[in-house]
Amino acid sequence: MDAFTLAELIRIMRECAGEDDQVDLDGDVAEVDFAELGYDSLALLETAGRLAREWGVSLPEEELTQVRTPAGYVALVNRELAQSGAGG
């Protein structure tokens, strides 16, 4: 099974939640707080909706609200993928 990557997360967030002009998402953003990247809770929710459709993974809402960084989001997705046995 393919692991979910940071690059894939960034691609999806760009598409469904846009990109802040002040931020370089191609830079080292793994540990940068979503708030600093210009993404609010709704952006994370929108991203979760896209992940559900493209990767067949359903992220628990209570855990989603705890995620603060892209690295944390990627880890959460991979954990759910492993548990559900879904994914590539």
């Binding site: 598409e15 469904c16 939640a17 846009g18 990109e19 802040d20 002009d21 210009g38 993404y39 709704l42 952006a43 929710l45 929108e46 909706g49 559900a52 459709r53």
Partner: protein, 404 residues
């Protein structure tokens, strides 16, 4: 009493982006009504904004979460703030409010997501649907973008709402709010929106853009819709002077009435709205240099407007114009665009023309301006009526304003 002065303007209109291009096109009477691409509906034409690039005119993060009308509103607010030479970070957020008009909200965003819901299922609906199609969303997005936390709201009264919003903003400035961003933007041209308007029965089904919208004309047969609008910066005149801001003019008077039920047999109340606005401004009819008409292009509504004007100003008693004949009726955006044109007409001392109207109705009592005409005076009256019996009248004035 505090004077509510207009110190900044941002325009998105079918005939121009930005206040300078808009005014130039209005003055030339440049028609901007064109075919709706691939329209299979009885309405064939609309005033459509060209050259607006969301990726260039607003932050990338806001593009996926906004309807086109909100993209217009965010850009127009930015331009108004720039035009007013404002640094909003210098204000307490609680001292700055946002009051816009809405009509029915972000219909094209709503249409797309409802189609997703219907054809693909709820998991395909955007989370941003939660607010993107809401009629208050323009006020919300502007306030979030600039962190403005003063009095904020939305007024809904079809085409009359744009004037009601400016009046509410003026009320807030008079009550002590230092700045209010106000106006309205609309984008009612997607199939979902057109279908709703068609049900209302006031859209033109003509097959020629030059005859599709002809208020006060014997051929009047409804209007064409348009998209766009304007945001204005309103602030206390003394504050504007203290910070060295140039002033376009003031919102000097306002009146609003509602019509009796159509079956009541009683006449409509536009006349009373005009009289209330003039009294509020402390002006006599003779002080009004020009009237920007509502110009419904529905024969009985045109007659009612002509009658109200004749009763207040006397037959042929005041120059009347309707620049919206070049861009269509823009609902929440229509009143603010007319107010912008009125302020610039007063400043430039010229009345912009009504276009296309050539075969005037029996209501020759209306002195319709069909070519640019010199303007004398310092006050203009803007009228707007909304479906459901809303009548709004707003007086703008350049009394005591030095040239900007």
């Amino acid at each position: 009493m505090t004077t509510a002065a207009v110190t900044g303007i941002g325009v998105v209109a079918p005939n121009g982006l930005g206040v300078a291009d808009y005014w130039s096109a209005v003055l030339r009477g440049q028609p901007a009504i064109g075919p709706i691409p691939d329209s299979t509906y009885p309405v064939r034409f609309a005033g459509q904004v060209v050259g607006f690039e969301p990726d260039r005119h607003l932050p990338g993060r806001l593009v996926p979460q906004t309807d086109r009308m909100t993209q217009f509103a965010i850009a127009a607010a930015d331009w108004a703030v720039q035009d007013a030479k404002l640094d909003l970070s210098g204000f307490d957020p609680l001292d700055v409010g946002v009051v816009t008009a809405g009509t029915s909200g972000g219909f094209s965003f709503g249409q797309r997501e409802l189609a997703n819901l219907c054809h693909r299922g709820p998991e395909h609906v955007s989370a941003y649907m939660s607010f993107a199609w809401f009629y208050a969303v323009n006020s919300g997005q502007i306030s979030i973008r600039h962190d403005l936390r003063g009095p904020t709201g939305v007024l809904v009264a079809d085409q009359a709402g744009g004037l009601d919003a400016l009046a509410q903003a003026r009320r807030k400035v008079r009550q002590g709010t230092r700045l209010v961003l106000t106006g309205g933007l609309d984008c009612p041209l997607c199939p979902y929106s057109l279908t709703a308007q068609l049900a209302g029965g006031r859209l033109s089904d003509r097959d020629d853009p030059a005859t599709a919208y002809l208020p006060f004309d014997v051929r009047a047969g409804g209007h064409v819709p348009g998209e766009g609008g304007a945001i204005l910066v309103l602030e206390d005149r003394a504050q504007a002077g203290a910070r060295g801001a140039a002033v376009y003019g003031e919102i000097a008077g306002y009146g609003a009435t509602t019509d009796p039920h159509p079956d009541s047999g009683r006449p409509p109340n536009l006349r009373r709205a005009i009289e209330l606005a003039l009294a509020d401004a402390g002006l006599h009819p003779a002080d009004v240099a020009v009237v920007f008409a509502d110009a419904a292009a529905v024969p009985e509504l045109d007659q009612a407007e002509a009658r109200a004007l004749a009763e207040v100003f006397g037959p042929h008693g005041v120059p009347v114009t309707a620049p919206k004949t070049a861009i269509g009726r823009i609902y929440a955006g229509g009143g603010p665009l007319d107010v912008v044109a009125a302020l610039l007409a007063l400043r430039e001392r010229v009345i912009p023309p009504t276009v296309n109207v050539a075969r005037r109705t029996v209501d020759r009592a209306v002195d319709l301006v069909e070519a640019p005409r010199p303007l004398t005076g310092s006050a203009a009256l803007v009228l707007a009526r909304g479906v459901g019996g809303f009548n709004s009248a707003l007086v703008v004035s350049t009394r005591d304003i030095v040239d900007r």
